[in-house]
Amino acid sequence: MLGIGLAVAAWGGRSAYSTVRIGSAYVAKLTCSCLFVAGRTQQSCSGDYDAQAARLLSVQAGPSSVTVTALAGLLSARAEFEDGFGCHLVN
């Protein structure tokens, strides 16, 4: 029973990690394009994400990049803007 419990917990943890991993990359890429391609404000861009989920993420915008960190810095995603090519994830 303990084995099954641990397996379920590990699976749940893996799924949660993968959700946060995907969410961080999503927010980094979409915020980057929202700021530098669409030319919207960071406040406007943050309205495009589920507010509850976004509370788990810290979003920092630089002059041509966006970095998102989660899980107390364990996980980070970064998107960079290049003029003419829009934004892409670099990690």
């Binding site: 799924s15 993968s18 959700t19 991993r21 995907i22 969410g23 990359a25 999503y26 890429k29 979409l30 394009s33 391609v37 669409a38 030319g39 919207r40 404000t41 406007s44 309205g47 495009d48 589920d50 003419g84 090519f85 829009g86 934004c87 892409h88 994830l89 670099v90 990690n91």
Partner: protein, 425 residues
Amino acid sequence: MDSGVILSTELHKGFWEDGLWEDPHRQATVRGVAAHLALIVLAAFAALAGARANPAPLPVQSPDVAWPTREWTTAPLPPEVDAKAFDAAMREAFDGGNPNLGETREVVVIHGGRLVHERYASGYTPQTRLISWSMAKSITQALVGVAVQQKKLDVDRPMGNPRWVANDPRAAIPWRTWLQMVDGLRYLEIEAKTIADSDASRKLFGPGRLDVAGYCAGLPLIHAPGTHWNYNSCGIVLTADALTRAVVPNPPSPKARRAAMLQWMRTSLFDVIGMNAQPEFDASGLYYGSAMIYASARDFAKFGLLYLRDGVWEGQRILPEGWVDFARTPAPGSDGNIYGAGWWVEPSEGAGRPYPWLMDTGSLRDAFSAQGFEGQYVLIVPSKDLIVVRLGYATQEQQRTGEIRTWMGRVARAFSAAAVTSAAK
């Protein structure tokens, strides 16, 4: 039962369900035989295609109306329009009358080649470029058409991918089949329960994020090609990857690859129609193909006009003859009736298979549309000489109510079919 269906049923049972595929010693033989049988099935379906009714005629541009390459000719709403219904729909979208519509940010309406209405939410302007999401698939269908017109590829030949060995059955699937989403790959998007399960989010933001085509090329084949429709964004990513190889065969680096591809996209399509589009690229230099093109509603409407005018722009043929009909006709022999090639179509009867996707644009079911996540639409109604573009933001829950689709239909229905007559004068 026709021969195509019998053959495909045999293929399905023989190769994908009885465990033959599990035997590694037989896989090479099975792949080779399956590839040949798949081609026979496709040939049978191609023969059936001739029996289908011709789609509704596409109206030509009036010589009195300038093409909008530089800017749109504007005109008031024509008198035939039910202005009361039209205004009510716009108020509902922009003034928060219906929460299921989400946030409407940009709306542009083109009738008879003229811009007859546009409206923007606070913070958005006619120049604000917003995300296409999957409307990019319709643009990829156009780009493949341009490449066909330039004799760079043949859509009835196998598309292939360098990650697949020669006798891999996926390598035998033609370009046409990928664009129609009847490729048969195992891909989960519309019915995914969580973002961790969805191939859509996994390929763009999860394990596939730095090499999206690599992720897509790893998906297995589970249905005989040509038989089963499944919304497969990965098929369009693989198409974009193959198109990039056809246009830029041996790039020295990812940066050189994307630069050469962007240049070709601009000179072959975007600059021709005056569309200030920003396609984006992954770290491998691949333009995503299935998503991530930014443009304004006015410019998405120009792209719509290219299709409404049968692929002709300012008298020049940009897309091959019949390419728009290919876009708006479901794959012959497929079990779905709501998708053509890179474009959604109104179902010929009922609410639509396998999903109830009917927009109800009026008495004729001739409409077709580009559609994207969070409620992006370019709706084309040939019988009304009409294009309706809607860009905005809607949550998954709001999208699931189907009310944005219904709203698009309401806007189109405010234009009577008689209005097309006055536009064509």
